[in-house]
């Protein structure tokens, strides 16, 4: 992009005010279709097989551990009577939180007209679905007797008793299942026009039939687009409060209890901010390597996108940091002995009294300190720095949930009931296994579905603007660049 190409000539003196195009190098519409579809159409690369060779066994071993836990009972885990929730719920909240970034990108950024979302929304929504799949495993199996899991459903159970609709655990069932279903619907609605593109490009019979079936016979007619755009707007509109509600409901699991460290009114906004924070880190963790592996996406996933995501990580990370400090303040201000003990002794570890203070400090460093580097522009534009910070955030957000759950439980009201907790190998491998499931699903997604929403990216190109009525402009204007 040279200065001469910039549309706002009068502002060239202030380069930061010139709008950087979202699709770089003035790529044409067919370039977008060709390059995004080529990921799916080209021969399966070697790295993909190698990656699958690692992730699939990990996923399968995770499933084996789940089977072991189901057949032998929750005794296979490290929980005890005092610490009844530990890695299971930590992992549940960790994964469900990651999902939030996808919905935020697809819905909230759509409503706020953030056009840069178009390059990343498809992959982020897919990430949401796969993260929610991983999240759903844990509440399912932590009930111990999984064949009784249907007791969670809103139907009368064996004794004709209905579930308690006033319990946040039941709200959770509704919130998470609604979230997953709506995310699938939203994702699929967005996919239909792109599946039609793949159908029309398909070279062999099988893929033409398969993409054809799932494209539902989409013709891209304006009479269809009219309803489609309305449907997309509505789905974005209803997903926005939904994404805010899901993690709020998850936080109610804790906030409505009377345990110090859980019983906090700040939990819903704090959890939502944390979820977006952790989710964006996971989006970048996945997209940065994907961009490296598919250099043709460079013009679509630009520095601008990474920069903006880094800014969101900085913002939400700071909100989370504020929440951590506010929790400490409220604990002190409440003058409640048990609250103060949980925060100042069990977590901060005054007089070396906190068993899990190391986890608290790990959380603080990863979540509050590490993203502060994003105040610097060079850090946001250096992919290695961004990737490292994202790894810190992923770790930190897992520790956040661990700190909330385990420190509050392990050292509770009565010192005589205090118990240490350490995970068993089954528990550890179940968690590692969910990473295998997540990555396997994502690799399959990359291989068979368009990773970037082509029809949406096309809207943000200058060619798509119907008011740019210069004859001869448009298709093929990238000739002088390539």
């Amino acid at each position: 992009m040279t200065e001469a190409d910039a549309p706002t000539v009068s502002l060239t003196t202030q380069p930061e005010l010139v709008k950087v195009p979202l699709v770089q190098n003035d790529r044409s519409l067919s370039w977008i279709s060709d390059n995004v579809s080529s990921i799916v159409e080209s021969r399966t690369p070697l790295w993909w097989w190698l990656a699958m060779l690692i992730t699939t066994p990990v996923a399968l071993f995770g499933l084996f551990c789940i089977g072991l836990q189901i057949s032998n009972g929750v005794g296979m885990w490290g929980e005890n009577k005092t610490v009844g929730w530990a890695w299971d719920i930590t992992n549940f909240v960790f994964w469900i939180g990651i999902g939030h970034a996808g919905t935020l990108i697809s819905a909230v950024l759509f409503l706020t007209r953030q056009k840069w979302r178009t390059s990343i929304n498809r992959a982020s929504e897919a990430m949401t679905l796969f993260a929610v799949v991983c999240a759903g495993i844990f509440p399912g199996i932590h009930v111990g007797r999984v064949w009784m899991a249907w007791f969670l459903a809103p139907v009368p159970n064996g004794n004709a008793i209905w579930p308690n609709f006033r319990s946040p655990l039941l709200w959770d069932v509704f919130a998470v299942s609604t979230y997953f279903t709506v995310s699938v619907l939203f994702w699929y609605t967005g996919l239909v026009p792109d599946l039609a593109t793949l159908r029309d490009r398909a070279k062999n019979r099988v893929s033409r039939y398969l993409y054809g079936i799932f494209a539902l016979g989409w013709r891209g007619s304006n009479r269809q687009w009219r309803h489609y755009e309305m449907a997309y707007l509505i789905l974005a509109g209803i997903s926005t409060p939904l994404v805010l509600s899901v993690h709020s409901v998850v936080s109610f699991d804790f906030a409505t209890s009377i345990l110090p460290g859980w019983h906090t009114t700040i939990f819903p906004p704090y959890f939502v901010a944390g979820a977006i924070f952790g989710g964006f880190a996971m989006v970048l963790t996945i997209l940065l390597p994907a961009r490296l592996l598919y250099p043709q996406l460079d013009d679509l996933l630009t520095r601008q996108h990474v920069d903006k995501m880094a800014k969101i990580i900085l913002l939400t990370g700071s909100i989370v940091g504020y929440a951590y400090l506010m929790e400490l303040f409220i604990a002190w201000y409440s003058a409640n002995k048990f609250e103060m003990f949980t925060f100042f002794h069990a977590r901060i570890g005054i007089n070396n009294s906190g068993w899990y203070s190391w986890a608290y400090y790990c959380m603080m460093t990863c979540n509050v300190l590490s993203p502060q580097i994003f105040w610097l522009k060079w850090a946001r534009s250096n992919y290695i720095v961004v990737f490292i910070v994202c790894m810190f955030v992923n770790t930190g957000m897992w520790f956040e949930r661990f700190v909330i759950i385990v420190t509050s439980l392990a050292q509770d009201f009565l010192p005589s009931s205090w118990r240490h907790y350490s995970p068993s190998w089954v528990e550890i491998w179940t968690f590692v296994g969910t990473f295998g499931i997540f990555l396997t699903l994502f690799l399959l997604f990359m291989r068979f579905l368009p990773m970037i929403a082509m029809s949406e990216v096309k809207i943000v190109t200058p060619e798509a603007d119907p008011h740019q009525r210069k004859p001869g402009s448009g298709v093929g204007t990238n000739a002088h660049h390539s």
């Binding site: 519409l29 007619s221 789905l235």
Partner: protein, 181 residues
């Protein structure tokens, strides 16, 4: 091909979204009713260029949302007030317990609205419809890539093979083709 095939309509291709928009305005002004434009992405302002109003898909969503809310109200109230009142922690189980049901009201409203949106979208767009005459046109494959098309159906009362062809060529349409069913 020797066999007789019914004519579906006439199609024309345009280079850019802007050209397509001008063409759509002209076809609209010529008084056609059964016609459509095809583009790889929604072109903003095309609805008015085609003389189409607002999409009323939102009405179906409202119905879905209300259904969801009423379902949730029945689902929470009937068991905990009528069939099997559960008294947990001595908390009230009558109307005073309503705030505890809000999350369920909310989630089911959203769930049913989302289903209503998607099903209304499929019904209003008549999808899935795996066969359509426009797919018989070889160039039409580009409608999902970078092609912009206007298709006027033969069912339109104003349709005439020669005059409509003239109109489409006159407004700058390229590769004007007769599409068979």
């Amino acid at each position: 091909m020797a066999e007789y095939r019914k004519v579906y309509g006439l199609g024309a291709e345009f280079d850019t979204a802007a050209d397509l928009m001008i063409a759509a305005e002209k076809v609209r002004d010529a008084g056609f009713k059964r016609w459509d434009v095809h583009s790889p992405f929604p072109v903003h302002g095309m609805d008015s260029a085609m003389g189409l109003g607002k999409s009323w898909l939102s009405a179906a969503v409202l119905c879905g949302g209300i259904t969801g809310l009423l379902t949730a109200v029945c689902l929470t109230f009937i068991p905990s007030w009528g069939i099997y009142p559960l008294i947990v922690h001595g908390k009230p189980f009558d109307w005073r317990t309503v705030p505890a049901f809000f999350p369920i009201f909310f989630e089911l409203t959203i769930l049913c609205s989302a289903f209503a949106t998607v099903f209304a979208l499929l019904i209003m767009n008549q999808l899935p419809k795996w066969y359509h005459p426009v797919f018989n046109w070889e160039r039409f494959k580009r409608a999902t890539d970078d092609g912009f098309f206007v298709v006027i159906e033969a069912r339109d009362p104003k349709f005439s093979e020669s005059k409509t062809r003239e109109l489409l060529e006159g407004i700058g349409g390229k590769h004007v083709t007769l599409i068979h069913d």
